[in-house]
Structures are given as structure tokens and as C-alpha cells.
Symmetry: C2
Subunit: 161 residues, 2 copies
Amino acid sequence: MTTETSLVDSALRNWNQQIERLNKVFALRPEPQLQQEIAPGKNRLIYIWGHLTSVNDALIPLLGFGERLHPELDAMFVKNADRAVPIISAEDLKHRWNEINERLAAEFAKLSPADWVQKHTTVSEEDFKKEPHRNRFNVLLSRTGHMAYHIGQAMLASGQE
Amino acid sequence: MTTETSLVDSALRNWNQQIERLNKVFALRPEPQLQQEIAPGKNRLIYIWGHLTSVNDALIPLLGFGERLHPELDAMFVKNADRAVPIISAEDLKHRWNEINERLAAEFAKLSPADWVQKHTTVSEEDFKKEPHRNRFNVLLSRTGHMAYHIGQAMLASGQE
């Protein structure tokens, strides 16, 4: 492995680790438990899971892979707070979660290190010349951190900190 | 910037972003507020801050930069649960937090991309040949995620999720 492929490999391992942790927290849990709040009056587990599913789905256009698979998740889990609007079932959510992550994994595998440091789709060519850190790799790292942020909250529901 | 320096730059930006968020959550908050629990019966903010300070301090030997600056933090914030043993004051903690992060930033700045993919100090040369992902960069990413994980919890104390 060259230095650059090794750097990308570490970031993808880190991404996958968060996905696996989330599978343990959410996908392997019986549905009734997903209705649990992470703390009194705070988000339910299912809302956090939906939120992460929607944010991961939005990576598809942001990284230039194509159209979102499930834009309908945004209204349920990003634009509205928990309990504000009806949401899909845990089973439907699990299906979307897996579908989106499989698509991302397939797209990630096609990118070379040079592709990773290319601009993401919401920055203009002009701005990217001045701010070359607004690249795909930066998005990958920040969304990996976003998963970790909410895993920290979700673990509270299991009595772990 | 080459591809490999750009990849490392993104990871360091991500690290710094988490440090800045933690400064907002902890270092800029008046001391009495740090006694607040993130949720009823859960860790206090000051404990989480101390925990992250101690874990960051442990990066110094792990990444081969030298001896820990404050190994005494381990007993207060890693080996024991919150409230189990007496801890230092917020002022003393803030001083250590800044000292440790400044030292890490100075050491990080000296590493080339090739240095980042070298092994960390707790893996043997032999194991590293089989598992080359056990490198410094992987440690950096996983500790950045560790900060994000606890930031997610700490934000609950501010009524944010």
C-alpha cells in the first residue's frame, strides 16, 4: 500500500467501524426498544437512527454519486424534531439504512486517493481553488464524526457512557 | 498540496474542529455549570472533559512523542467512574487540557504523511507487518471520533441534540 492509499484505508475503516457500532445499537435491537428515549424528554433511538440514515443518504449527491435514494427521510428525521411528524417503521428504516450504506460502500470503493481530495458538489470550482479542504475526504471524516456524536447519545439508552 | 498532504490536512482539521467544539462546551463555561450532569444520574460535564483530557494525554506515548504529561488524570477520569474519587478543579483541568493539546498540535505538525502511516507504539513490528492499519493515522481518526462521541453527550446538558 502507498501512503495515500493507506490514509484513505484508515478513514474507510473508521467509517465502517461506526456503521458496525450503529448496527449493534439499532439494527440488532428489537423494535419496541427503539421507542426508548436516550434520556428523559430527549430523542428516541429510532429518531436518531433515521436521522443518521437521512444524513448518510444525502452523501450520495454531495459526493457526486447521483441522486438520493430516500429524500423522503429528510422531513421525518432532519427538518422536523422527533415526534413532530409520522415516521416509517423500524423495519422499513432498517431496509433503507442497509440499502444506503451498501450504495455508499460500493461508491467509496471506486474512488482513488486523488478522487477523494477532489471537491464535493456544493462548492464551486472558484471557491474550491481558495479552499481546497472542501473536498470529499473532509466530508467523509466529518460525517464519520457525526455518526460518533450520535452513537455517544444512543449509548446512554443502554446505560453506557 | 499533494494528495497525501491534503488527506492528512483534512484529518488534522477534523481533529482541531473537535477541540474547538470542546472549548465551547467546557473551557468557556463557568465552573459551576461543569458540575451539571448530561442527563439525570449520568456523568457530569467536568468528568467528560477530564476523561477526554486524559485520553488525549495518552496519545503522547502512543504516537511516540514521549512521556505523558499528566498520567495522574487516569485514576480520576478513566480508571474510576464519576464521583468515585476526588478530582482536580476546573481551572487546573483547563490548564492541563490546553497544555496537552498544544503539545499534540506541535508534534502533529512535525509528522510527514509517511510518518502518519507508521506504526503506533503498542503494536509490535511483527504484528504491524500483518496489520499495517495499526498506524498513527488510524489512532488520530479514532481519537477524533472519541471526542465527537462525548461531545454528543455533553451537548445534551445544553438542551441540544
